[in-house]
Symmetry: C2
């Protein structure tokens, strides 16, 4: 366009916001304009948080959860109250947040760092699977809960993991999160596969 | 919760992202994690854009559009090709972007800086209305297109503006954007008020 419509600094911010996942041009405009209208200190705080992020966050060498740069190992692992013989295996670090919100789990975690996905070129060798086997031996793990996503990639990762652990001939119980009808969902709206899982996993009362 | 789940730096970024309009905790988590997984230079670029925003953007003293800090007046006003006798009145600076995208408008703009909204404590005295009257006189404005939003606030602002300009006894044509059925919408899904507008504004072929 011949004439510039928006100031260059605003255009730049819109472009940068547009790099966030799922943010289109209109949403990016909305974010940038909201920042502009508010106090500059708010923009500064967000900028500071962004600048500090990579420097202050690292990956736990045992569980591969995200931890503070000054920590050695994840507090969710070192915590005495946590059962180290019970390991919940998840795809991504944020999955831990979802599980911790339940307040019902007192074991430890192991982050795979993704799921097997041939399309994206992610094979089992890119995931933290050998480190999991290592942990199983070191901590005498008694049960592994596979909590990968309910996606095709999550399912194949779970299957691969199950076989891999069985082949390592460790005496470990392997379990998976239950599949079924989520709370608050009407039966008529539940999809076929979920209902099949719900039937298979039915519990005697 | 007893044990910290996420690193403090990540929590801070999630909180700051959560201050953006319409961003809930889950979306903020998603943004922060995406930033963490990508190259640190991307986080730095967003941080820099945020830090420069307020310093490099100012408001045009004539049109109240957003302009570069080093500009005197909006280029959409100074541009020789633009008809200064035609003024399109909008609520917010970003409305200009939407109108410019049509490529069909070659007049100038005037940003009111909001809409009359007694609930939010915004009266006509907080809007750039006197400056509009001033412009009408200085530029011998021939037509004002009122392009406020199709909301209750936008409608009352339009009505107020119309009366205000008429009372100033200026010889100016006042027009409003057409109301009607948007492109791609089925008649059966159009709401009552839109249909009423479409009937009233019907055009003879």
């Amino acid at each position: 366009m011949a004439t510039k419509i928006l100031p260059a600094a605003l255009e730049r911010l819109i472009e940068e916001f547009g790099n966030l996942p799922g943010v289109g041009p209109r949403t990016a405009e909305r974010y940038a304009y909201a920042v502009l209208r508010r106090d500059p200190t708010q923009a500064e705080r967000l900028a500071r948080a962004l600048n500090e992020l990579h420097r202050r966050v690292k990956t736990c060498p045992v569980t591969f959860a995200l931890i503070d740069a000054e920590e050695e190992v994840s507090p969710l692992y070192t915590d005495e109250a946590r059962n180290k013989q019970l390991v919940c295996v998840v795809e991504e670090p944020l999955d831990i947040v979802a599980l911790e919100r339940t307040g019902q789990y007192h074991g430890t975690y192991h982050v795979l760092g993704g799921a097997i996905s041939p399309i994206d070129g992610i094979g089992p060798e890119q995931l933290h699977i050998p480190e999991l086997i290592e942990r199983c031996k070191n901590d005498q793990v008694a049960e592994i809960i596979i909590a990968t996503n309910a996606s095709v990639e999550g399912e194949s990762t779970a299957l691969f993991l199950q076989r891999y652990i069985q082949e390592a001939s460790l005496k470990i119980t392997i379990s998976r999160l239950a599949r079924g009808i989520p709370v608050g969902v009407d039966l008529e709206y539940a999809d076929q596969i979920t209902l099949t899982h719900a039937l298979e996993g039915r519990r005697t009362l």
